[in-house]
Symmetry: C2
Subunit: 251 residues, 2 copies
């Protein structure tokens, strides 16, 4: 890969310096989705009443840690959050990467403590929602309730997808395609982007060794399906990658 490729990047400072975070939040994916699910727009104010704006958090800062008392879920507003656990042998298991508009903490609702850690991979802004308050509000706003049900249901499906029995190539392709789609849904390029996480994180997410991640990426590059240089990725053979990922993503 010659001539350094430039990638569109989400720049949190655009938001952070905006001065009116509430205005941003009113257009955030979570609020929008609630409205899409039938929540009256006039209720957005109620929802925003209980939002607490958090951030900016910097790379390595934790949103919460395993064992912390659970009292709130959070919508990522900018940046990437990694959720993970450390097992008895000190191995890290990455549970997910969370992009702007996505919710973290849904797996903590059952139980009074967070069952995992959440750490910022870059500069992160969050909307924090007290969960007791949110569920009280959800009783009054069916659109909000429905959106919460949907989000949790989706997370079950995503986790089961990850749990499936797939080859290293299939896992990697599915990861790249899914990441690409999530970026595209946020207005970024589906074919050129920057990975916000280290190879080790990808490995721990896909349950592979970092060496395997490296080798699979090299193989996909040699086969002309993608170009990758450090964390900059270009998906050249999007179709072929989608075919490879199809059984995992079920589409």
């Amino acid at each position: 890969m010659t001539g350094v490729v430039t990638f569109p990047r989400f720049d949190p400072s655009v938001v952070a310096d905006d001065g009116d975070l509430r205005r941003f939040c009113s257009t955030c994916a979570f609020s929008q989705a609630c409205v899409a699910e039938g929540m009256d727009k006039s209720s957005l104010g109620d929802l925003h009443m209980l939002v607490e704006h958090i951030g900016p958090l910097h790379e390595g800062d934790h949103v919460f840690r395993e064992g912390d008392r659970f009292d709130a879920i959070a919508a990522v507003r900018a940046g990437t959050v990694k959720t993970y656990i450390i097992d008895d042998d000190g191995r890290e298991h990455v549970l997910g990467f969370h992009l702007p508009g996505e919710i973290i903490g849904l797996n903590a609702i059952d139980g009074d403590r967070y069952p995992c850690n959440a750490v910022a991979l870059d500069t992160v802004m969050l909307c924090r929602f007290s969960f007791p308050k949110l569920s009280t509000l959800a009783s009054r706003l069916p659109g909000l309730q429905k959106q919460l049900f949907k989000l949790m249901s989706r997370d079950i499906g995503k986790a089961l997808q990850l749990a499936g029995d797939w080859s290293a190539d299939q896992r990697m392709a599915a990861f790249l395609i899914e990441f690409s789609r999530r970026l595209a849904a946020r207005g970024f390029s589906a074919t050129r982007f920057r990975l916000t996480m280290a190879r080790t994180d990808i490995a721990n997410y896909l349950r592979l060794a970092p060496e395997t991640v490296s080798r699979v990426l090299k193989r996909l590059q040699d086969d002309g399906l993608l170009r990758i240089e450090r964390r900059e990725v270009e998906l050249v053979g999007l179709k072929a990658l989608e075919t490879l990922a199809a059984p995992v993503l079920r589409d």
Copy 2:
């Protein structure tokens, strides 16, 4: 294993012949849990108003199939339900086994069709809850809403557990211990029980080959951790099995 061991078994006919299914349902785990989450007992009637009793289904009967229009979740009242998908190569991926008191269909809420199949492994009785009606009711009954949130949150955690990177022995031990605990919670023996599913089902659930399941069980038996004869199991070394399963179950 000489002298045939007898195992306590859940006999659905006891319920099916009871004649008053509603009475049974009023004491089912789901309703009880809603009350435990703060739902007023006087609201049990409202909940039962929208229950539709299904069954008995027999071994091999499907509760729903992938692609069916989603309109209801169901609480297992008796028997065991297996949820699974078939991938492009015709391989079966088992998503879960569901015992009395457990809910199936929660991963279908996001989307208008069931994303998986659900089949009876033995004689099954179900309580069917229209999901639109249930969520409407949940708006009025915070205890019910809370219980639904918790159940879904728990399912996310369970799925992520299954997704972890564990050895065949750890997976098998975790499966047995979890199954044992779920039976114990329903008043059955924690150490002697009958597996309601085939080796192949266990294999497809744990993402192992059936031959591996067989070999792991043999090894655990040779090591004195359990005795198994066809589907009858006795957990002899419960402590040792729990130790083996601990990193998976995180306890």
